[in-house]
Symmetry: C2
Amino acid sequence: MISIRPTRLQEAAAILRLAAAEPLFTAEEADTVNELLTDYFEKPDHNGYFFLTADLDGQVAGFACYGPTALTKGTFDLYWICVGRDFARRGIGKALMDRAQVEVRRAEGRLVVVETSGTPEYAPTRAFYEKLGYARVATVPEFYGPDNDLVIYTRKTSLS
Amino acid sequence: MISIRPTRLQEAAAILRLAAAEPLFTAEEADTVNELLTDYFEKPDHNGYFFLTADLDGQVAGFACYGPTALTKGTFDLYWICVGRDFARRGIGKALMDRAQVEVRRAEGRLVVVETSGTPEYAPTRAFYEKLGYARVATVPEFYGPDNDLVIYTRKTSLS
């Protein structure tokens, strides 16, 4: 059974293991997850990052990280979403995305923004967002690197 | 005579006055300039933000803030550029942008990214970037607010 809940301190190690094991994340990206998770626990009342844990039958199977986008009115970034390879193809990613949308709407968010890469390795990731109703609105050529475009997706909440 | 140099501690108050007086900046945006400036002075060796001051005949006439974009290879963000209204139309903005490009190239940067608003108030700002050779590569509808798109410009350095 899948359940999604705000991430608890005792799940931090499992989440960092998932991030470190994710083939699509660079070491720098996994370190960034660590930094954001530390902020989330240390500044629970006034930080810009929120984490959700996906629990599958008592195991930490995935996580998502989102937060309000600075200098915007009602826009939220979905910074990271990750499901362990052992837990793939069970709807865990969709469950995390659905819950993030609910939380954003609850926080009076209008728009969820997802940034990803345009490389072939990220084709399944892009297909995943598109299937969930995210619209591909923009591309910034060579943003991540000489052969690595930024692709931006957005999805409106019911408050839009 | 215009000169551009890395911002010094004794110029902080003048820069914050320029940010506070800039009609296009919200109070939240002026506060953000303050936060980034504090980081710049407190963590000179390992911070992500660099400030340039434009000096016109001994007066602080403008500033720019740029830094490497996290999780990219060789991309830099130009976060802020501001010229005091009393010092307009003397090429100070262009001098700041030119120096920022030089500094980015010196730091082995490939690409400079500028994010701005699509509202009519920002039409002169967009024209300014376009005149300096920045290409309008992307728009994210309703990013800043319900009637306020994000417009993204990029310019390659000679290292691209």
